[in-house]
Amino acid sequence: MESNGRYGPPATIEAICSTIQSLTDLEWSRIGKFAGEHLWGTDFQSPDALINETVSRFLAGSRTWPTGVAFLPCFCNAMKSIANGERGLIRHDYEFQVSDLVPPDIESDNARNDPVVGDASKVDSAESCVLREERRQAAAADLERLEDFFKNDDEVKWVLMGIEDGLSAADVQAISGMSKTIYETARTRLRRGRARLFRTGGMS
């Protein structure tokens, strides 16, 4: 990951090491909790595993810390990105646009890959297809479990709907008629309930 100059030059590995060494107990607890929230759908068995992976990527230089931003959000952002990568970016696999069907222009550097045949480098193995299907099924079961858990909590249902549709907190509050405090309390309830249900938010 290249650092954008806007956020300052990348920190040296030694600076990253000494910053990690100087993190406070509460900062570690926050990192652990953040990692826990991101475990769902990944192969990481514990927050610790995701944190270790992130540290190793920083040390290897595949992740950088632009010195213009605070370390903790930068580290958490890296964890988020790694977790998202682990979930497999499934959403792109079955969707293509009509324009993709235009015969590929082999003379052009911008030639699209045939969406039916696909890009040879991106052809999935049978094993990965099976794995992806398993993850889809697991996601469906988990969402059902979560919705069932909150079936009597209308406020949490609003929050869930807002997150699903990518709505802002203000929009959800406007649509649902919830006050800011009620919305925030419901959102906390959702987070805490989900963590207990899937044991994701806690730390070992």
Partner: protein, 143 residues
């Protein structure tokens, strides 16, 4: 192609992870303390565990970096190392250095045992001269 129900589940669950994790970042310190207390999590203990693993990784990274530096330095020295000259040539060169011993009265050469020296003796003298900077490594090359 229309998204199936299972695809929707995956997207919602992923979006939930991202959104709720971001909420953790915006918790105030007192809110975070409160949640940790509620979950019966001791921040000092948790932090010690996470910190310990991270520090182990850092220590391992530094050890490896040091090893790599040593290896790299070693290979550099190996590249620059000149093949030691043959003993006969060394013997010849040292004998031809009488002028040097005359010019440097404080420099003398003596062998512990007799007049006949082994190849190892001559090579040892050659190494000493190299260390003193009185000959260069490539002085041993055949003319």
């Amino acid at each position: 192609m229309k998204k199936s129900k299972v695809d929707r589940s995956l997207l919602v669950m992923s979006a939930l992870s991202a959104a709720l994790a971001d909420d953790v970042l915006s918790l105030s310190e007192s809110e975070l303390h409160h949640e940790l207390r509620e979950d019966k999590i001791d921040p000092a203990f948790t932090a010690a565990q996470l910190r310990c693993h991270a520090l182990e990784q850092i220590a391992e990274f530094r050890r490896k970096r040091l090893q790599d530096a040593r290896l790299s330095l070693g290979s550099q020295i190996d590249r620059e190392k000149v093949v030691p000259p043959e003993t006969a040539i060394v013997h010849q060169r040292i004998c031809a250095m009488r002028a040097l011993f005359v010019a440097k009265p404080r420099l003398s050469l003596a062998f512990r045992e007799g007049r006949v020296q082994s190849d190892a003796d001559w090579m040892s003298v050659w190494d000493n001269l190299l260390e003193l900077g009185l000959v260069r490594e490539d002085d041993g090359s055949i003319d």
